[in-house]
């Protein structure tokens, strides 16, 4: 090959490839700063009297985004199909399902790019993040003649407000609980399910005698167990109402050593085993092979995930049950943590907010829609929905237990900033260094504290706290 020809080709391609590395994160600065504009200015009739119908002859095209496992996708699509069938010629809803991975990345990109769905599923922490003044989503008070808010407890509904504006509808309460694969325990001859951490240790000895790689409890993120422990130890959530930190370096150090002791005893999943069998990022456990095969015969997870966790075990003939909350030694609080589960919002850019509200009314309050949606999103907060599901016999088994557990558990509600990825990343990364022997507990705790404090300061400044 000729020198100049080859050289030119190589230089050109190398430059293009290298330049391509720059293009993923450029982001559109031009779109910045517009998030707060235009709330309520998206075409909703101001008189509030019109039925949720598009202008004459026009079919309202609405998109609906959500995440979940296959069971949730199937139920939601059935509800969409039924809604569309009942609104032929006036409203067409298109589903936009996704898995549990990269939730916020996808949401943020679509939100910033102005391509968010008309009706979107919004994680609770995102409400303050994307709508700190209530202007990031459509003002739902504009559609209160379409959506029946009276089905919700007023206090609970307030958790969907920001800046005094009802920006989202919370679906229900998510409570962190322990769920046990009872069938796996039966196979080991353990008929009395553990209620204390000492009993978990004893059960772990039985399980590991049969399979040394068994860990009794796995969780989507290691931080859940740590905060569970620290709430019981201090009686406080991780962050105060003004977003300040409630835990000290010593608290984090205690949580690290407490978890590692239990991981060494094969009660909680070790970081090494998690990386080997699950991955290095937080993820739903419901589809994990080791969980399904009984290698993890228990999960520490939100009640919102229990239907999926139970469903995958049922396919193998195993039964998932809600376990009693174990209490740490010297606890000043004997409960767990809770948060509003996923919420629903209407895009402030939607051309059809009233039709979107009608769709929300169908899936959240209407008996037909509620039946089809089922219990795949965990506990419902709508009184009408709960009555429908109970009458339809859908609240049974593990889901019924989760309802009962949610109704009685002592809880501390999470701060809206709790799930910020920086906190989880800092905790998991430094716990990992501690478990792998790269850091002492003291240094790992200090690193967690420092990273958390830095992010808290940033968020406080952003949210004006």
């Amino acid at each position: 090959m000729k020198k100049n020809q080859m050289k030119a080709t190589a230089i050109t391609l190398a430059a293009m490839l290298a330049a391509a590395s720059m293009t993923a994160c450029g982001g559109g600065a031009s779109g910045a700063g517009t998030a707060g504009a235009g709330a309520g200015a998206s075409g909703a009739p101001a008189d509030g009297t019109a039925a949720a119908a598009a202008p004459s002859g026009e079919v309202a095209q609405i998109s609906f985004s959500w995440w979940g496992n296959d069971d949730r996708h199937q139920a939601t699509q059935e509800a969409i199909d039924a809604f569309n069938a009942a609104h032929v010629g006036s409203i067409v809803v298109t589903g936009e399902p996704s898995g549990f991975g990269n939730l916020e990345e996808v949401f943020a990109t679509r939100y910033a790019g102005g391509t968010a769905a008309d009706v979107m599923t919004v994680n609770f922490p995102w409400v303050i993040q994307y709508s700190p003044n209530g202007e990031g989503f459509y003002d739902l008070d504009q559609v209160k003649d379409v959506f029946d808010f009276s089905q919700y407890d007023a206090g609970f509904l307030d958790s969907g407000k920001s800046g005094g504006i009802q920006t989202v509808i919370p679906y229900g309460q998510n409570t962190l609980g322990f769920y046990i694969n009872k069938s796996a325990y039966d196979r080991m001859g353990i008929t009395q399910l553990p209620k204390t951490f000492e009993e978990y240790k004893a059960a772990a000895q039985v399980f590991t005698a049969a399979d040394p790689n068994t860990y009794l409890i796995v969780s989507p993120t290691f931080r859940f167990a740590a905060v569970y422990y620290l709430q019981q130890k201090t009686g406080k959530g991780e962050f105060a109402d003004d977003l300040s930190m409630n835990y000290t370096v010593a608290d984090y150090q205690d949580a690290l050593t407490w978890y590692k002791d239990l991981a060494d005893a094969h009660v909680f999943c070790s970081r090494k085993d998690y990386i080997e069998n699950v991955g290095s990022e937080p993820v739903s456990i419901a589809q994990n092979a080791k969980y399904i095969n009984g290698g993890y015969p228990g999960v520490l997870e939100w009640t919102g995930g229990i239907a999926s966790n139970a469903a995958t075990l049922e396919e193998k003939g195993d039964e998932l049950v809600v376990a009693e909350l174990p209490v740490i030694d010297g606890a000043v609080f004997k409960g767990t943590m809770a948060k509003p589960s996923l919420t629903f919002a209407i895009s402030k850019d939607s051309k059809y907010p009233r039709q979107a509200a009608e769709f929300l009314q169908y899936i959240l309050n209407d008996p037909e829609g509620v039946k089809l949606m089922g219990t795949k999103r965990g506990m419902v907060a709508s009184k009408a929905a709960q009555a429908t599901l109970e009458a339809d016999g859908q609240i049974t088994g593990a889901v019924k237990q989760a309802y009962d557990f949610t109704a009685t558990a002592e809880v501390i509600n999470n701060s809206p900033i709790f799930e910020d990825a920086v906190f989880t990343n800092a905790y998991e990364q430094n716990y990992e260094k501690f478990e792998f022997g790269q850091l002492t507990a003291e240094k790992a705790a200090q690193a967690i504290y420092d990273a958390t404090a830095e992010q808290v300061a940033k968020l406080k400044a952003q949210y004006g706290k």
Partner: protein, 290 residues
């Protein structure tokens, strides 16, 4: 219409895409790298703060070291493997087209989700690889939860995608004049000596081309490690491209991510320039005056 204008018309789709999807974000990323920007709020100018922070950030420096290690392992291995297979496929074999296609398939699949699932199955504790080495009394190896094992898995995945380099090598091998081999044979040269004294020198321009391409690719590798090992134990497979992605789309530090992108870009350019500076010593072009 003049030929020049028709030519421009033909390349217009590519040109528009290049300007909008590459050059604009490329320049925009430079601007954003000097700001604090989280996608939702307007960027605020903070000067060189992102760059200063980057060079104190042990996570970032760690990803640079990992990326360098990954590049050093994958590029030579991939090139050697691609050349070896191309050399074999250059013989007159039956069903040669089938073999060429079959060896190219991994490059088409790349690091997609299906391949990631397959790779995890292969390397899991009771997977095929551990069972295979078990036959020889070895293992099992915890591939994903040991730093060395996790790096080996993603290196193997990259090397497996040798198809495009192989095809380019194959074309180069076919360009080597047959009379040179005949002359070498008449002079009693062995196959190995012929390969190293005739074949290799004549295809050095192609080796150089593949080296530059694979090097630039390896520095930017994302899909394979992201899907198969994630950060890996102790962040051992956390590459710079993943650091950029996390900061941009997980932590929403777009300014910081853009600064990291630019640092990576400068490193890639520097390494490429060094390679170009060395080529006079080992690359032999047909029109070279030496």
């Amino acid at each position: 219409m003049k030929n020049g204008k028709i030519g421009l018309l033909y390349i217009a789709p590519w040109l528009i895409g290049m300007v909008l999807l590459t050059i604009y974000p490329f320049v925009n990323a430079l601007f954003i790298s000097f700001t604090d920007y989280n996608l939702v709020r307007a960027p605020s100018f903070i000067g060189f703060a992102n760059y200063v922070k980057l060079f104190k950030d042990t996570d970032f420096l760690g990803t640079l070291a990992n990326t360098l290690k990954y590049t050093v392992f994958t590029v030579p291995l991939q090139l050697a493997f691609a050349l070896f297979i191309a050399f074999i496929l250059n013989f007159k074999l039956k069903a040669i087209s089938f073999y060429r296609t079959a060896y190219y398939v991994p490059s088409l699949l790349g690091g997609n989700v299906a391949v990631a699932v397959l790779w995890r199955f292969l390397f899991q504790q009771d997977g095929f690889i551990n069972r295979f080495i078990g036959i020889f009394g070895l293992g099992p190896v915890s591939w994903f939860s040991t730093p060395g094992g996790a790096m080996a898995v993603i290196v193997a995945l990259k090397v497996w995608q040798f198809g495009s380099a192989m095809l380019i090598f194959l074309a180069a091998l076919k360009d080597v004049p047959g009379e040179l081999y005949e002359a070498a044979s008449v002079d009693g040269s062995t196959k190995v000596r012929t390969f190293f004294t005739i074949t290799i020198p004549l295809i050095t321009p192609t080796i150089f081309f593949n080296l530059v391409m694979q090097l630039v690719n390896a520095f930017q590798e994302f899909n394979g490690p992201y899907l198969v090992t994630g950060k890996g134990p102790l962040q051992s497979t956390y590459l710079t491209s993943m650091f950029i992605y996390d900061n941009a789309f997980k932590f929403f530090n777009m300014g910081y991510a853009s600064a990291a992108s630019w640092v990576l870009f400068v490193i890639i350019v520097a390494v490429t320039l060094v390679l170009f500076a060395t080529q006079d010593r080992w690359v032999f072009y047909s029109d070279s005056k030496k």
